[in-house]
Symmetry: C2
Subunit: 194 residues, 2 copies
């Protein structure tokens, strides 16, 4: 992707995390990105195009900060450590994770009122669930696929629920991480049972 369009998407994620999807106006986005509105329309066609590409951009960025740490390790992580990291690195009080999680939660919340992003969100969620199910399967290779998928759906939905509580100021990030980490343990305990 060309650097001008990345610059626009970075600005869109910032604006959404600051004021919500419903606060996103193309004029404001142009100002935030330091480009003309014409360039935004040229790259993304319309507001829907901006939102869909921003969702993809946010997803890619989350993928990066939840797995980049893994690639940087000198010792390869065990499947269990990798599973913990992929989930727990979504709960970090850094500006990047906070902004990214806020924008993701807001795109999800806006889809309740506006169907335009629903298909993209469902697809992104499915990819995420499958990724977590695959990691659970590496830890518990004998568990049936359907059981792994259900556990992954729960863990990712729980993460979204905890993330919303954290970002809306009702839950300390450290406690959210503890609850998430215990949830992984609880699901794995159940998967170990015949």
């Amino acid at each position: 992707m060309a650097s001008r369009s990345t610059q626009i998407l970075e600005a869109a994620a910032r604006v959404i995390a600051r004021r919500g999807v419903r606060g996103l106006r193309v004029e404001e986005l142009a100002e935030e990105a330091g480009v003309s509105t014409g360039l935004i329309y040229y790259h993304f066609k319309d507001r829907t195009g901006i939102l869909r590409h921003t969702l993809e951009f946010i997803n890619d960025r989350a993928e990066r900060y939840t797995t980049a740490a893994l690639d940087g390790e000198t010792e390869p992580l065990s499947p269990r450590e990798e599973l913990d990291q992929v989930l727990l690195l979504e709960l970090q009080d850094t500006p990047e994770v906070r902004e990214n999680s806020t924008a993701w939660g807001e795109l999800r919340a806006s889809a309740v009122f506006d169907p335009v992003l629903r298909e993209d969100l469902a697809r992104a969620t499915l990819v995420w669930v499958q990724e977590v199910a695959a990691l659970l399967g590496q830890v518990q290779p004998l568990a049936p696929a359907a059981t792994l998928a259900a556990a992954a759906e729960r863990l990712t939905a729980l993460l979204e629920g905890l993330s919303m509580r954290w970002l809306s100021g009702g839950l300390a990030v450290g406690h959210a991480r503890t609850l998430m980490s215990e949830a992984v343990e609880v699901e794995l305990t159940r998967l170990r049972q015949p």
Copy 2:
């Protein structure tokens, strides 16, 4: 509470569920409720007052439809059945539950951007967590209080996460109920372990 103010709060929940908190204008609310804006200000002082009372109203209504079914039973439910009902009756595809859950999710999402409701939300969440922890404790009386509280925090956060996926069109309500019901089982399995 006088019936005029109830009428206003019912209208506020409808407007929020239809268009979001950020779509709530006092003029529109007055029209929806069939009252004057003056009467709304008289009862609720300002927009913050409206939002805080609507949150309370939505909570009371959820309390009613998750436990009213229990009171109507001729045979008393077991603690386990009661626990299932309190959680699963939040995932029903009826106009009332859909409206109530949409408004709750939207109040939670708006608190990410606007601190005005944070304290009320945190308090309402705490009461809900304590209620679920008490039910878990009736099923597993030997489990330590902190363990019960953590399980209740996870189950209620998971319910919020699943509810958002359901309401944003990414998850069928029946599948959400299955995942929730299995989560209760998974947490209880863990609580049974010494």
